[in-house]
């Protein structure tokens, strides 16, 4: 069996989500190749070639792939799939965007956000915001899979895969990149951080969010948020943790002024240690918290920062 893993990268750095996806692919058994699609991808390819257990790294270098637009990714991947039995990619927004296109073109049903590999055709995935776990067996000849990376350990490094450049793809004519507004931050990325400090509606305003950020900086943590905090404009959309935002599983997750709706829990309940600070002692977040502090966040958070 041959498996293709699509690399997560920003044209400069290879992301850890790739290593985790390789672990999921390796659990299916077979040869694992990595596809790096982007512009100026030499360094990313070299990094991918070091991942343990990888046979070959395929590179495709073209301006139309700089932002991995869905139509362009489909055009690159679908022809490649004649050589592969399965394709896996992290379930981040970049790959969630085009993987269903690949599946539809191959006439197979995508298996989204898997958290477990039972065999080469059977997988575990959360449904209903993680309130149930479904084990599904695919009868499709090829498997198209996105991987919930928080559920897999990163593959190690020490390999030396071969590399190969693919021909330039045709640029799609019906979609074009116009611009982007990326959230600038020196903090660790949410998905990869060891500690995440998240704020909710209880924080009250974007100005007040400074106390959350200040605590996060003291801990070297990433900052997250509930949907309510994002909707209210306290923080940008990419801070949202939950069923329909990002999934995180850090060593320590601190939820501040967050009630603990099922949609929020879906994105953080696999964290190792959960701390909740909330003034309502009946808030559902306390049902999943290892350590709960019933307190006014405006007093407790600065106190916590000072005590570190």
């Amino acid at each position: 069996m041959a498996i293709l893993v699509v690399a997560e990268h920003d044209n400069t750095d290879l992301k850890d989500a790739t290593h985790k996806t390789v672990t999921a692919a390796a659990a299916m058994g077979g040869d694992v190749d990595i596809l790096v699609a982007g512009t100026g991808v030499k360094d990313v390819m070299a990094a991918a070639a070091k991942i343990d257990g990888v046979r070959a790294v395929l590179g495709v270098d073209h301006v139309s792939l700089t932002r991995q637009l869905a139509e362009a990714m489909e055009a690159v991947i679908v022809p490649l799939m004649s050589e592969y039995d399965a394709i896996l990619a992290p379930d981040t927004t970049a790959h969630k965007n085009y993987m269903p296109r690949v599946a539809a073109k191959l006439d197979v049903m995508q298996i989204s956000s898997i958290t477990g590999v039972e065999s080469a055709d059977t997988f575990v995935r959360p449904i209903y915001a993680g309130n149930a776990m479904a084990t599904v067996k695919s009868s499709d000849s090829k498997k198209v899979i996105t991987v919930r990376t928080t559920a897999f350990n990163a593959a190690g490094e020490g390999g030396s895969a071969s590399d190969k450049m693919l021909a330039d793809p045709a640029s799609p004519s019906t979609s074009e990149f116009v611009g982007e507004e990326l959230t600038k931050s020196d903090r660790p990325e949410l998905a990869a951080a060891k500690i995440v400090v998240s704020g909710g509606r209880g924080v009250g305003s974007s100005e007040n969010f400074a106390i959350i950020e200040s605590l996060a900086d003291k801990l070297g943590a990433a900052v997250g948020a509930s949907r309510a905090a994002v909707d209210a404009g306290y923080v940008p959309n990419d801070y949202q943790v939950g069923q329909t935002g990002k999934s995180v599983a850090p060593e320590l997750y601190i939820a501040i002024g967050i009630s603990g709706a099922i949609q929020h829990l879906a994105g953080m309940k696999d964290s190792k240690i959960i701390v909740a600070i909330n003034k309502d002692e009946d808030a559902p977040i306390f049902q999943v918290a290892d350590y709960g502090l019933v307190a006014d966040l405006f007093i407790a958070v600065p106190e916590l920062e000072a005590a570190l």
Partner: protein, 248 residues
């Protein structure tokens, strides 16, 4: 421009899913069902396009059991013009749904299909992009803002790093994210009026689509439980615990 919006009837977002004792699935008997929240956002966007004069007709389609008609009526009550109900008691996979929607989009001559980015029951997040691929149309997923002008649509998308804007040539598929708009509530007179709006009754066979599932559910189980820990009395106590755990 004609706009098509597919909607799905799902377990209400406020209800916690319960796994059946025989592990065959989630118990949906006697629980509140509602329109998938992302589909409410799609419907709202289509109605706004109509109100702005951009859309000439807004058609809502639901593929599901008899009760899916209620979901269609809900969309008609907030301003969709007409409904199509493709009745089936099977729980179709996104691939089969996308194939049926492709046939409908072609039959209707739709220029824009707006779907939710995911259904909150199976969480596949696949239908919109699958449909775009089957139609060979461009797509703007996870839409935060959309703007049409002439034969193109500009979509600002919610992505992991922030926001990304793409421009698509119509016809196109857009999938909605949470911040695209705030869906309105239906007013009573409109609910009454919606009862008179047309809903065409169809079946998957009318579209010649093979809906056989590709995935079989081996079992559905409860997630690994997490039990409540302890309440600490003070910030110092909390810091002490976290130091003992070795996480700070």
């Amino acid at each position: 421009m004609k706009v098509l919006v597919p909607v799905k009837r799902v377990l209400d977002y406020n209800v916690k899913a319960r796994v059946k004792a025989d592990q065959s699935g989630v118990d949906l008997s006697n629980v509140k069902m509602s329109m998938n929240p992302f589909d409410e956002i799609s419907v709202e966007e289509a109605v706004r396009l109509k109100e702005a004069g951009t859309a000439t007709e807004a058609v809502v389609v639901s593929i599901g059991p008899a009760k899916a008609q209620e979901t269609i009526r809900t969309a008609l009550a907030v301003g969709m013009d007409r409904g199509i109900h493709v009745q089936t008691d099977e729980d179709l996979e996104p691939l089969a749904i996308a194939k049926i929607l492709k046939a409908i989009a072609e039959e209707e001559g739709a220029q824009l299909v707006i779907t939710g980015k995911q259904a909150i029951d199976n969480d596949y997040g696949a239908t919109g992009s699958m449909l775009a691929a089957l139609l060979d149309w461009p797509q703007g997923t996870f839409a935060n803002t959309v703007e049409t002008s002439g034969d193109s649509i500009t979509v600002k998308r919610e992505v992991d790093g922030g926001l990304q804007t793409v421009k698509l040539t119509l016809p196109a598929v857009v999938t909605t994210d949470l911040r695209l708009n705030e869906p309105r509530y239906a007013r009573l007179p409109d609910i009454m009026k919606a009862k008179k709006k047309q809903i065409d009754a169809k079946t998957p066979a009318d579209y010649g689509v093979d809906t056989a599932p590709r995935l079989t559910t081996v079992k559905v189980t409860e997630p690994a439980g997490r039990s409540a820990g302890i309440k600490v009395e003070s910030v110092e106590a909390l810091v002490g615990k976290l130091k003992t755990e070795g996480v700070i």
